[in-house]
Symmetry: C2
Subunit: 364 residues, 2 copies
DNA sequence: AGAACGTACTAATGCGCTTTAGTGAGTGTC
DNA sequence: GACACTCACTAAAGCGCATTAGTACGTTCT
């Protein structure tokens, strides 16, 4: 008699293998393999019998064995490079991941998810995953303007899909000098989305607008800033009237940026925030100073979430279907794994959900 | 000449194997294996040489091969069973995961992370992971009062650690009738934490207190509710003065619960919310009704986050070290994988960060 | 000097699966 | 009735590693 804990823990429940199936079905192991993988070489009868036995035994192919012989790990990877404290509140990633998995799990592909501190660690991790044969492909998020990852992945021959950009410029615009290396990409048209936001604010009468952007160096940050400038130019608004500042996406920097913006001699009548957390932080700064929203300051959040709906007033937000974007990315990765051509796929355009935080600017 | 995309994508860069190392170092494959795994049987000289060659080649053991021969997948699993829309804003999980990985990745153990819809799917996934040999162990989160998972995992013999509960009662208290199956557990003492919250509010003078709890059936929800009742009894507060209602953790239900609570004939002077999102939603409802916080209503949030700091007033919150909790859980899983004894480990007690949302109740 | 032992290595086996190369029985052909 | 040919299946090899059994050589003991 062993100790009770020991006894209960290490049950001998051995996992069934095709050998077990072969024995019970009275055929060879190879026949089992053929039967279970829809390969020709077995009769309908045998196939059915083998399937039944496998079912009974609750058999599932050992992922290790399959990976070793079949050269497929059955695994995709996703690395999130964020300093620990920036991991904050954003619902974005959990939603993205949930969308990704919806598609991957239908093909029985698991997702290896890792949070790391910085880009170098992320690159090192890709190398390790590649050398270990751990993943069949990866999803690259938070693309940068100068990004080492696509080049690295291409050189390793590790299939990958870039999520959210390094996008080619919109048709008609200038093509970027150094086109990104050959990786499939799914992206959203931030430029068009930004145009919509500006349309909304300009239409309400705003002429002095600030943009509290996210991290400099991120591709979509740059795209949004550039787009805002383009759209402002179209409407004859100069750099003093419409301008962007960058932050680290945190509530602290969002608040700080807001304070500086409001301290200006001629403060803007509207602020666009690049995420929900900063928008709420900014709204809080305004409230603290007794600045009524939207009477004296309009606020727009890029990315909707519960946050935007629980504040008072509720925040006008740019709503996008993040799980849907994740599904799109996963589908594209599957396509690449199946040997499909490199593509650049555009996700759904976000729409602006106008709520109570935007209105006409003060008359003066 | 193939198409440019094709050519660039499938680089022949073969992953190095121990055979390559053996050839270059002029020894047998087994010698390489011994050398790289710190096994006796090779001289210091050879060991060093093999190591150098492996380094040069950028070799990493194939996880599949190692798993197949060594019976270790080098992978842990974490499943999050949440309906998609509840995936909201909580920073809790990303932080927990980041703490877990800090510990696991030091041992080169990857984390398989999956979001599923419900508990049944989660159980099915455990079965599949087990049958596929995909994971060496799993971390079980959101333990329930009647939870099928520990039993399942124990019967499969899949090592596991329960994160956050099914805890035995505090020493001295009554032991639960059906002790949980033999799984290691890390938990936080919600009872003591709740006592602290009540201390704070009672000390300020509050005698009518509501508790907007999380999902019924979750172990920690029940623990908090039970603890609140116990602590209330100790102070002579009956069920009309102090009571809990359950929700699904969403901002919507948090707001709805708040409305109902404030509609009561004798509304409470303080509300405790089981997460940050609901607390902010509740604060917003109060603001919408013109109820000043904390002058007429005090608010406490369980779990701190950026949200609690960006609202106005900032919310008093129960702060816990979530990444630290994740690290603890991961360490415990490693201990179990190493064949250590089953244990129940208690995490750090959260502390109450008093901010502007709590104060003395109105004089009347 | 031969047995006994330890050291540093090589050879061989197996993990569970996929895949390629057989093999033997049945069918059709002239 | 010997020929090619197909069908349903089995045997065997190999994926990359860990591990066990074996081997050759040098040292020590008696």
């Amino acid at each position: 008699m062993t100790a009770p804990g020991e006894a209960a823990r290490r049950k001998p429940a051995r996992r069934p293998t095709i050998k077990d199936i072969a024995r019970r079905a009275g055929v060879s192991e190879s026949a089992v393999s053929f039967a279970l993988n829809d390969r020709p070489g077995v009769s309908q009868d045998t196939r059915a019998r083998v399937r039944r036995v496998a079912e009974e035994l609750g058999w599932q192919a050992s992922s290790a064995a399959r990976a070793l012989s079949g050269e497929r790990a059955g695994c995709a990877g996703l690395v999130l490079a964020r300093p620990a404290q920036t991991l904050g509140v954003e619902s974005f990633f959990l939603q993205l991941v949930s969308g990704i998995q919806e598609v991957l799990s239908a093909r029985k592909i698991a997702l290896l998810f890792q949070v790391v501190e910085d880009l170098d660690t992320e690159c090192a991790l890709y190398r390790r995953w590649w050398a270990e044969g751990r993943v069949d492909g990866v999803l690259v998020v938070d693309p940068r303007t100068e990004d080492p990852r696509p080049g690295l992945l291409a050189s390793l021959g590790l299939p990958a899909v870039v999520v959210g950009g390094l996008a080619t410029h919109p048709p008609g615009g200038p093509q970027p000098a150094a086109a990104h290396p050959p990786l499939s990409t799914v992206w959203a048209d931030d430029a068009k989305a930004m145009a919509r936001v500006l349309d909304h604010l300009y239409g309400l009468g705003h002429r002095r607008i600030a943009h509290v952007a996210g991290m400099p160096g991120l591709a979509h940050t740059e795209r949004r800033i550039r787009s805002l400038r383009t759209e402002a130019d179209l409407r004859g608004l100069d750099e003093r009237q419409v301008r962007s500042v960058t932050t680290d996406y945190s509530d602290a920097e969002g608040a700080e940026a807001t304070r500086r913006i409001l301290d200006a001699a001629e403060p803007p009548t509207a602020i666009i925030y690049d995420n929900d957390v900063m928008a709420v932080a900014g709204a809080s700064v305004a409230a603290g100073r007794g600045i009524p929203v939207p009477a004296r300051l309009s606020i727009v959040a890029w990315d909707d979430s519960a946050l935007c709906r629980v504040t008072h007033p509720r925040l006008t937000a740019l709503v996008r279907d993040t799980p849907g974007f994740g599904r799109l990315a996963a589908q594209e990765l599957l396509a690449v794994l199946d040997g499909g051509p490199l593509r650049t796929v555009e996700g759904e355009l976000p729409h602006l959900e106008a709520r109570e935080s935007t209105g006409a600017p003060p008359a003066g």
